[in-house]
């Protein structure tokens, strides 16, 4: 018996930690991981709200879970391209300091 607020508060806290990670870290890999954490927090809220609606209406309800599927697929695509970009930047600049990534031309 868990009130749905608890899940939403947990999701808000995880999202905030992810946003904090993006703001304070200088390593682009960790910034990427923080973005994954934020996506994950949003997924948790999706599933919690879906389950809450399922209980309220008394019918099976899958839309929340299906949205999580799409988010996972988008996250996988984003990670593949993002990590390829980081590897490419490392090859050109020989380091991955986020402060030096201020020009598009390699």
């Amino acid at each position: 018996m868990i009130p749905v607020d608890y899940y939403i508060i947990l999701s808000a806290i995880l999202f905030t930690i992810g946003a904090l990670g993006v703001l304070i870290r200088r390593n682009p890999l960790i910034i990427f991981m923080s973005i994954e954490l934020m996506l994950n927090a949003a997924n948790l809220a999706f599933v919690a709200f879906g389950r809450s609606w399922e209980i309220t209406s008394g019918k099976p309800f899958y839309t929340g879970q299906i949205f999580v599927f799409f988010v996972i697929a988008v996250a996988a695509a984003e990670v593949a391209v993002g990590l390829a970009l980081i590897v490419e930047i490392f090859k050109t600049k020989k380091n991955i300091n986020i402060d030096e990534m201020n020009s598009l031309k390699g």
């Binding site: 995880l14 930690i17 703001l23 954490l37 990590l83």
Partner: protein
């Protein structure tokens, strides 16, 4: 305190501390491993919420595929122990903390003050773990959400081609 609530509180403690460990760990490998732990606890939350299929895909796709990719890139670049760099903006860190506290207080306040959330989440019954529920979910996915599903597959194809093109630059130069 029901047993469910105890499980929830312990797991949320693990989830929050692993997320903090991810954000503040000096070593990037530790960060990645903390994030794996966080993903696994979130998968258990999905099980509590009656979404076993999502829980399993969370473990295979996130904790499996994506984090292996992360660890591989960290080790490939040797970026696990970057020396702490001088901050370009010295006020950035305190400002980030203030903004984060504001964000979390604001969202929790809004959840309590505005949203009328009085549903209590009960443990899923056995029907949620049956083959029938999987079939129902697939029917929704391939009827109501067929177009987003196909667009997602195109997105994955584009991402794959993009990643290959980005990392293949030297060979292309050598040929030209």
């Amino acid at each position: 305190m029901t047993s469910e609530l105890i499980v929830f509180l312990v797991l949320s403690l693990v989830a929050i501390s692993s997320a903090l460990g991810m954000a503040f760990s000096r070593n990037a490998i530790y960060s990645a491993l903390f994030l794996v732990l966080n993903f696994v606890t979130v998968a258990v939350f999905y099980l509590l919420l009656g979404a076993p299929l999502i829980a399993m895909s969370q473990i295979t796709v996130y904790a499996g595929a994506i984090m292996v990719l992360f660890l591989f890139v960290i080790m490939l670049l040797g970026a696990e122990n970057l020396a702490p760099l001088p901050q370009a903006m010295p006020w950035q860190r305190p400002l980030a903390f203030i903004l984060a506290v504001t964000l979390v207080v604001e969202s929790i306040y809004l959840i309590f003050a505005r949203a009328q959330l009085d549903t209590v989440i009960t443990a899923p019954d056995a029907a949620a773990n049956s083959m029938e529920s999987l079939r129902e979910m697939a029917m929704t996915l391939f009827n109501q959400f067929l177009l987003p599903f196909e667009i997602t597959s195109i997105l994955l194809l584009v991402a794959m081609v993009g990643a290959i093109v980005l990392t293949n630059r030297e060979k292309r130069k050598a040929r030209a």
